[in-house]
C-alpha cells in the first residue's frame, strides 16, 4: 500500500500524498501554499480560523482538517475562494483591535503577513472595537489581548506540551475570549514561564516577552524579508526570534 501512488487534483494539478495527510499538509509538501492561521505543523489541526478553506468535490471545507483522499477534486485558488479567505482575514482584523504601526509584532505577525498575501488593505467592515484589557501583571510577559485571534495555539501548547493549562477560552460567539488559569484572572498568578512552548506559538502579537519588543528592528523581521507563503513552504512557521525562516 505504501508504495502505491495516491493523488488528488489541486486546481487541476495532481498532488501526491501519503495516508494520514490532510489536504493542507499534502499541498504544502508539494510546494503549493495554502493560507492558514490556526494551523501549526507541531499540533493536531484545529480547523477554527477557516482561512485555509478549499472546495473538495464542490463542498466547502477547511483543508487543514480534511484528510486527503485519492481521486478528490480540490479547488484552492478560484476567485470565490480567494474572496472568501480575504473576507475571513478582514473579519479577524474587524473583530480585534489591530494597530499594526504601533504593534511590537509588526513584521513578525502571521495575520499581517497573510493579510498582505491575500491583498487585504483594510479591515473593510465596521470595526467592533472590543474592550479587552491588557494584562501586564507578569514580570516578564505582556498579554496584549486586543490582538488575539482565538486560534487556541497557546491553549494547546500549554496543555499538550507544557502540561500547565495556563490558557483557556471562555465566553462564546463574539464574546469568546482568552482567560488564564488563576482566580485573580492575572497572568502573574499563573505558573507560566518564559521557556514555555506557549510563549512561542502565538501567530499574532498577544503573548509578548517584555523588554524584547524591538530587538530586531522593523524592516529586518521575518515577514519583512519573506512572504507568508515562503515561510509556510519552508516548513518553518515564523516568527522566529532572529527573524530568519
Amino acid at each position: 500500500m505504501s508504495d502505491e501512488r495516491k493523488t488528488f487534483t489541486l486546481d487541476g494539478q495532481d498532488v501526491e500524498f501519503t495516508e494520514g495527510q490532510t489536504i493542507l499538509q499534502a499541498a504544502l509538501a508539494s510546494g503549493t501554499y495554502v493560507p492558514s492561521l490556526c494551523y501549526h505543523p507541531e499540533f493536531r489541526p484545529h480547523g477554527s480560523c477557516k482561512v485555509c478553506t478549499v472546495k473538495v468535490n464542490g463542498r466547502t471545507t477547511a483543508s487543514c482538517t480534511t484528510p486527503a483522499t485519492a481521486g478528490d477534486t480540490v479547488e484552492l485558488a478560484t476567485d470565490d475562494l480567494k474572496d472568501l479567505r480575504k473576507n475571513l482575514v478582514q473579519f479577524l482584523f474587524t473583530e480585534g483591535n489591530h494597530f499594526c504601526p504601533s504593534c511590537e509584532q509588526s513584521g513578525n505577525c502571521q495575520l499581517q503577513a497573510v493579510g498582505y498575501e491575500l491583498g487585504v488593505v483594510s479591515g473593510h467592515y465596521n470595526p467592533l472595537f472590543p474592550s479587552r484589557p491588557v494584562d501586564a501583571s507578569h514580570p516578564d510577559v505582556l498579554l496584549e489581548l486586543n490582538r488575539c485571534i482565538l486560534c487556541e495555539l497557546c491553549v494547546r501548547a500549554s496543555a499538550l506540551v507544557d502540561r500547565k493549562h495556563v490558557f483557556s477560552l471562555s465566553g462564546r460567539g463574539i464574546t469568546k475570549h482568552l482567560v488564564v488559569n488563576a482566580e485573580s484572572g492575572r497572568l502573574a498568578d499563573t505558573n507560566l514561564s518564559v521557556e514555555d512552548k506557549a510563549m512561542s506559538v502565538c501567530p499574532v502579537g498577544v503573548i509578548l516577552r517584555k523588554r524584547r519588543g524591538f530587538r530586531v528592528p522593523i524592516g529586518e523581521r521575518t515577514f519583512d524579508t519573506h512572504t507568508a507563503s515562503e515561510i509556510a513552504l519552508a516548513g518553518a512557521r515564523g516568527p522566529t526570534e532572529d527573524g530568519a525562516p
Binding site: P45, H46, G47, S48, C49, K50, V51, A62, T65, P67, L88, F91, L92, T94, E95, Y125, N126, L128, F129, P130, S131, R132, P133, L145, L150, A159, H165, V166, F167, S168, L169, S170, G171, R172, G173, I174, T175, K176, H177, V179, V180, N181, A182, E183, G185
Partner: protein, 556 residues
C-alpha cells in the same frame, strides 16, 4: 467548613466527583439566578482535578451560567419571533419600566435583572419567560403585573402559585405515532422476539430517516455503530430542541416519555449499547422530575437495568443530562462535548460519533421523534410505517405550528402534504409567509405554498412559523440575525464574526428605516431597542454599564 462548602461537597459527592458531569455539577452549585462565583469555580476545579481555566471556560460558555451576580430574581423573556409578534417586547418593556432598569442590568437594590433568552420552546403558548430557570407561558400584561408583585414581595419562585407554571399541551392532529400509545415493554418484547438482525431489517424496510434535521437513514447509522469495534457503546436521545419555533419534543417527553425511552432501549438492543443519555435542554426544567419518575418506573418494571425485558445480553440504563442554554449543543458532536463536561463546541469530523462518540466510543445520537418512531415500528413493522409518506420520506412528521394561526400546536402529518394544507388545518388567515424548519430553515412565500413537506422538497425538523399579511418580514430576519449572533459558539471565524456583523447590519438598517413604532397595530411591529427613547432620559441619570471583557458594543 461553612454551609456552602458542605453544599458543594454534597453536590460533588452526588456526582461522584466525575469531571464528565461538570455541566450537571455547575447547574447544581449555581445559585437560583445562575451565578457561579470565582472562588466557587476554583473550588470545583480543585475538587475535580480540572484546570481552573477549563471550568471558567465552561461557565462562560453556557447562557444559564453567569460569572457575575444577577438580581435575586433573574427574568429572561423568550426572544423567539412568534413571541415577539405576540408582544413580548412590549411586555418586557413594561417590566423594565416597572423596575426602572435597563435590559440585563441589576436593579440597584439587587432585586431583579431582566433580559432575554433564545426561544424557550413554548411558541404555542407564548409569550413566555424563565424566572430563575422556571418557565412561565401565556404572558399578558396582567400576568406581568402579578409576576412583578411577586418579585417585589420577595418570596422564592418555588413558593409562587403553581398555576403560573402550567404548560399546556396542544396536539391538534394525530396520525401513526400519536393515535395509539404503546404499553411499556410492548415493542421491546416484539424486537427481542424478532431478533436483532430481523429488527434491523424492519428498520431498514421502514425507510425511517432522522427527525432532527439532517434526515440520515436511521438503519445505516445504527448498523455502522453496531459494527464499530470495541465493547462499549452509547445511545443518546437528543432532546435539546433548540431550533426556535420547535416544541414537539417537549410534548413527546411530556406525554410519550415511555415510548421514547423504549425507542432508546430498542436502539441499545440493536447496536449493543450499555448506557444511554437523554440530553434535555435547560429550558425544560419542568420535565426533569417527570422524566426521572418514568426512568424509575421503567427500572422497577425491569425495562431498564440488568437483563432488560428478560433478555440476558441486554443491560442498559439511561441517565438524564440537562443543558444550560446553548442552541449549538443540539448539534450532535457539540452535544457529546457537553455530555463530557466541556464547552459545547462541535467536533471536527471525521471521525463521526458512530465510531468515536461519547468518550471516544461508538455512539448513536438520535432525535426524540426518531426514537418514538422506532418504538412504534419495532412493534408494527417496517411496512406499516412505509405505507405513509412519500418514496424518500417515509412515515409521518410532527410539526410545531405557531405564529399567526387560529390553532397553534402539534400536527402529526404524513410526509408529502402541502404547506397550504397545513396552513388550512391550523386556521391561518391571510398568510404572507411561512418559516419552515426554524431560522436554519427556509422562508416560503405564498406562491410556494403548494410545495410539499419531505426530504424531496421542503425538509424540516418540524418548526412551522406563520406570518400573516400585517407582519414585517424584515423584523423576522432581524430576530433571526439576533438569534444566530447570540448562539454562535464562536469556534470558527465566519460564524463568530459574521453573525455579529449581520446583526449589526440589521440593527442599523432598522434604526435608519425610521418606521414609527407600532405602525401596524399594537402587536404587529415592535421597535428595535435602539429606536426607543433611552430609559435613562426618562427616569434618572445613570452611568452606562461598563463593558465586560470581550464585549462588543450593541447595534451601531
Amino acid at each position: 467548613m461553612s454551609s456552602s462548602d458542605r453544599d458543594l461537597a454534597a453536590v460533588l459527592a452526588r456526582h461522584r466527583y466525575d469531571g464528565t458531569r461538570l455541566v450537571q455539577i455547575l447547574r447544581d452549585v449555581m445559585d437560583p439566578t445562575g451565578y457561579i462565583s470565582r472562588p466557587t469555580i476554583t473550588q470545583v476545579a480543585e475538587s475535580l482535578h480540572l484546570p481552573r481555566a477549563h471550568v471558567e471556560g465552561v461557565v462562560g460558555f453556557y447562557a444559564f451560567f453567569s460569572s457575575e451576580p444577577r438580581g435575586r430574581f433573574r427574568v429572561l423573556f423568550s426572544d423567539n419571533i412568534t413571541d415577539e409578534l405576540a408582544g413580548s417586547q412590549e411586555l418586557r418593556q413594561r417590566m423594565l419600566d416597572a423596575f426602572r432598569v435597563d435590559p440585563d442590568e441589576v436593579s440597584r437594590d439587587g432585586l431583579v435583572s431582566i433580559g432575554t433568552t433564545s426561544c424557550t420552546g413554548l411558541c404555542d403558548q407564548g409569550p413566555a419567560m424563565l424566572v430563575n430557570g422556571r418557565a412561565i407561558a401565556r404572558l399578558t400584561p396582567a400576568r406581568i403585573g402579578a409576576i412583578s408583585s411577586l418579585i417585589r414581595g420577595g418570596s422564592p419562585v418555588s413558593d409562587w402559585p403553581a398555576n403560573l407554571f402550567t404548560i399546556d399541551s396542544h396536539v391538534m392532529r394525530r396520525d401513526l405515532l400519536l393515535s395509539a400509545p404503546l404499553r411499556p415493554g410492548e415493542s421491546l418484547a416484539a424486537a427481542v422476539v424478532r431478533g436483532r438482525q430481523a429488527t434491523l431489517a424492519e428498520l431498514r424496510a421502514s425507510g425511517l430517516r432522522g427527525r432532527g434535521g439532517a434526515g440520515f437513514a436511521t438503519a445505516t447509522k445504527w448498523e455502522a455503530c453496531a459494527q464499530a469495534p470495541g465493547p462499549e457503546r452509547y445511545v443518546v436521545c437528543n432532546a435539546d430542541e433548540g431550533e426556535p419555533g420547535t416544541f414537539k419534543d417537549r410534548e413527546l417527553l411530556t406525554h410519550h416519555a415511555h415510548e421514547v425511552i423504549e425507542g432508546m432501549t430498542v436502539a441499545a438492543f440493536l447496536v449493543g449499547a450499555q448506557r444511554g443519555f437523554i440530553y434535555l435542554r435547560g429550558e425544560y426544567p419542568f420535565l426533569i422530575a417527570p422524566l426521572e419518575a418514568v426512568l424509575a418506573e421503567r427500572r422497577a418494571l425491569g425495562l431498564l437495568g440488568r437483563a432488560v425485558a428478560g433478555c440476558a445480553e441486554l443491560d442498559f440504563d439511561v441517565e438524564l443530562h440537562v443543558g444550560a442554554g446553548a442552541y449549538v449543543c443540539g448539534e450532535e458532536s457539540a452535544l457529546l462535548e457537553s455530555l463530557e463536561g466541556k464547552r459545547g463546541i462541535p467536533r471536527n469530523r471525521p471521525p463521526y460519533p458512530v465510531t468515536h462518540g461519547y468518550l471516544g466510543k461508538p455512539t448513536v445520537v438520535n432525535n426524540v421523534e426518531t426514537l418514538l418512531a422506532v418504538a412504534h415500528l419495532a412493534k408494527h413493522g417496517g411496512a406499516w410505517f412505509r405505507a405513509a409518506g412519500t418514496p424518500k420520506s417515509a412515515g409521518t412528521k410532527l410539526l410545531s405550528v405557531s405564529g399567526d394561526v387560529a390553532r397553534p400546536g402539534i400536527y402529526e402529518v404524513p410526509f408529502g402534504v402541502s404547506i397550504r394544507s397545513v396552513l388550512q388545518d391550523a386556521g391561518a388567515k391571510e398568510p404572507q409567509a411561512v418559516q419552515v424548519g426554524g431560522p436554519s430553515g427556509v422562508l416560503l412565500a405564498a406562491h410556494e405554498f403548494e410545495r410539499k413537506l419531505g426530504f424531496e422538497d421542503v425538509p424540516s425538523a418540524g418548526a412551522f412559523m406563520v406570518f400573516d399579511q400585517t407582519r414585517d418580514i424584515l423584523a423576522v430576519a432581524n430576530n433571526f440575525a439576533r438569534f444566530f449572533a447570540h448562539e454562535s459558539c464562536g469556534f470558527c471565524t465566519p460564524c463568530r464574526v459574521g453573525t455579529t456583523l449581520g446583526r449589526q447590519l440589521h440593527g442599523a438598517h432598522r434604526a435608519r428605516q425610521g418606521i414609527p413604532p407600532r405602525r401596524q397595530g399594537p402587536a404587529a411591529r415592535v421597535a428595535a431597542p435602539q429606536e426607543r427613547e433611552p430609559l435613562r432620559a426618562r427616569h434618572h441619570r445613570r452611568q452606562p454599564r461598563p463593558r465586560r471583557a470581550g464585549e462588543v458594543p450593541p447595534e451601531l
